[in-house]
Amino acid sequence: MNHLKSLRHLLGASVCLTAIGGSALADKLPPEKDLSGLEYELIGRTDLYDYRALDSYSEAPFLADMAAEGKLPAVKDRLPKEPLVFKTGAMVDGAGEYGGVFRHVIGGRPEGWNWMAGQHQGWGGINMAMQECLVRQGPRWQIRSEEQTGPLPNLAKTWGWNDDHTQLTMQLIEGAHWSDGDPFDTEDIRFWWEDNVEDENVSSRLSKGSLAPGAKLEILDESTFRWTFSEPQSETLVENLAYIQGCPGPSHVLKEKHPKYNPDATYEGYTNSMPGEALPIPVMGAWVPVLHKPDELVVMRRNPFYWKVDEQGQQLPYFNEMHFRLSSWDDRTTQAVAGSGDFSNMENPANYVAALKQSQSPDSPVTVRFGKRALAWRLELNFSDIGAEDEVDLALRDLFRNKEFRIALSHALDRDAIGQAVARGPFAYPYTGGFTSGSAFFDYDSTAYQPFDQAKANAMLDELGLQDTDGNGIRNLPNGGDDIEIDVIFNSGRNDTRKQLDAVISQLGEIGIRIIARGLDKTNFETVRNGGGFNGMINRRGFPTLTREPCNNLPISASCPFFHQSKDGERTLLPFEEEIEAAYRTFISSNDSAEKLQMTRDIQRLITENAYVIGTIQTPAALLVNRRIKNAHPGTPVYMFEWAEDGIIRERLWTPTAEQVKELLPGTIAEY
């Protein structure tokens, strides 16, 4: 009980101290009020799970029947030599009962099933339910801070460095299988690395060169492999091998679709080699997608070869089936509140009050818990000439590279008003880029703030020579150029973003900058974003750690961040971007925790001082879980090291038999 820790306490303390402290930065963020106030007990790294052989194993009854009929190998043969064993002590409700359905509702749509080529399956927990990665981040929130040495093991059981930290050797779990029974081994790792990550023609989530400079993979045996780097690296590098970057795919199926192994294949064909309705596919995850009705439903059934068990030897997962209703993100919350969905990351602040009100009633099917502020929105202006359609676009991009212009825009934003426009209440807090206030790396003192000051913004724009020369209320580009009209793309599925954009349009309109909103659906939004075909983009981002999807935030490779991609292989980083990049490199290669901390602060300062992005607000999210779901730890944050779908550890969730929802495909498994 001595590890009881109040998040509010932690955060409140840092705010108080720093507020008095003062610093060299001119403007400071206002004090923050936290909404979470959760208390929970933290545990050690190995208290959660370990890898060991148990005396006996058991399985879901219908699988036992199938094994008895000879349709499946015996459970002992399907499991690895030493399966991953979840410890009962870390389960809030203990070992579970088999059966039932876990019902998700998501707003995304599967793009295709070839995740190694960068396709997503619709987000909201569906990607994670089928992809298993080398290491795991989600459950880290529960580990006490002294033991926060890095990600938790997953497919990689153990790993170690050589003395000068230039070699990383990883040991895979031995004798695990893909859901079709094919052995999982280092060939899958080799294929993932050589033919996806390192192949520039495949848009893998981990892009070539982004793990570490000069990384070379060497396969030592069926379960051991080693990277060699040209410079010393740190443990931080391992974080890149977690979801969504370090998740190998089934090489035994994909190889024959890859141009390297099949001369008739094309890269486009490879990317689309696992199209939407062609199911099932082999996965390492706890559930296998077996049925996809476009715009309606994805059904997943339990993976009979899943390689995790509980301490009683029961093969996981407990749930036989998992559903993903293909609806909208708002509907996810609506259905969770109504009880027809089991889970929601409530992320749209506009929903909060209604959901809180409904959850107050004693017979409400859900519980609602707030986390810290971990979601932030910002306007990103395109610094690169890529995707520019005409002279006006080029002139605008030139302007965006000017710090004064960005600072002026930042001063023109009334962030309180933006927050209240999204949802009335104490939810929003100003954001100016960098780490969100809920991040462990957030440092108040290193955060610059551009408070709302229209006069200042106007003066700065005037100074830049951006006058309204034609008197239509919109400033013109220098030398009698066109009106400053910035088209801003946004994901039209997100009402929270749309509302902020409305507020931003109105506020920037008052200083003579016209914003043209361009709503795109998620897939198309990503296409345009990755292609650089936008002048501005308003986006919701998390920034919990430097290593979590760094491409969204930092100039770490030629195509990162999306708002400053190289054009025809060339780009000129702005001086402060070079500083950010250098600090990032130091951070990932250093093993000195003081130096690392300093780097995070430097980056925070550089980003916020230069208005690298023009932040708007940051908000907390709340987790909604149906009350019949057992083992859902009440402290699970919506977003910390990973999204709650991972943090809640779905493979060990269960429901008492009496409360189980009827399965749609009872008694079946994926058939290949």
Binding site: V353, E510, I516
Partner: protein, 373 residues
Amino acid sequence: MNALTQLDMNAENANHVSLSYWQLVRRRFTANRYGMAGLIGCLIVLSCTIFGGFFAPYGAQTKDRNAISSPPQLISIISPDGELTRPFVRGFEEKMDPVTFEFSFEPSDNKIVPLGLFVKGEPYEILGLTFETHLFGSLNGVPVHLLGTDGLGRDVFSRMMYGTRITILMAVMVMAAACVIGTMIGVSSGYFGGTYDLVVQRGVEFVKSFPDLPLYLALVAILPRRADAMAVFIMFAAILVLLRWADLARELRGKVVAIKSVEFVKAAVAVGASDGRIIRRHIIPNMSSHILVWATYTLPEIILLESFLSFLGVGVQLPMVSWGSMLNQARDIQALTAAPWLLAPVGMIVISVLAFNALGDGLRDAMDPYSND
């Protein structure tokens, strides 16, 4: 057959002395309460179009930072002590529930905002002239929001008044353009006949075969990406005109074909009147009642269509305000839950559609010589 006799009657009426056709129409129309109510409604809506800036206490873009998503305020004339006083509204005491974070707005007797008529405020324009006097406003400087505010703190009532301008302007523009085109094409094709008529007939049929909503949406998609709001507005109007003229052209053509064979037109031809003169003096006047009815029925249709497209965000663009684009904010169901008063423009849509329809019915009945009431 029926149309023919009717036109006969009209023609006679037009040429007789006692009561002119239009006098008759007016007499009959004014006797129709329902039609008169419609007329009054239309006049109110149209006056908002012109004097919107005067009726609105604030500008369409003016933000009140202290009243975000604030609910409507009730005008009262009974003071807290129970006495009759000048009209006033109560400001709100905002309270937040500590558990659900829900805001409640209690009208407070300590925050009384007295209202006055002809109050000076933000400058606005009517027909190019700038004024500062508004119909009503607060007397103590604390803003008054009769229909509440939106998420950015903008006064819903004021925006609705300004929105009337764009919505009605759009409707009238489209109606007028479609009317001119439809009349010209319909009358000429009916009058001249022959191959021209045949071609026009096919063209009309062609245009009428399009499902209008999908076509509008498709045409909206090909508008340029970085067009400014005014350009989009005009193109949007042009798209609406595109399909609207066909109905009128077809109906008028039918009437002209019928009227051509009527005695007085034949007589005019016989005495050698020019085509232009016959059309202007004899045909158009006989079409005017029909055109008028068509126009009153077309306006509400355009209002509804414009509202829907703007509601979807593909019609009138920011920063222009129309009723439909105001409703775009309510498209987000959560916003609607938190601030149902964002639906206020629906009231204006309903009133105007109702009024124009009623006016149309009234006119039609009044212009039909056989109508029995």
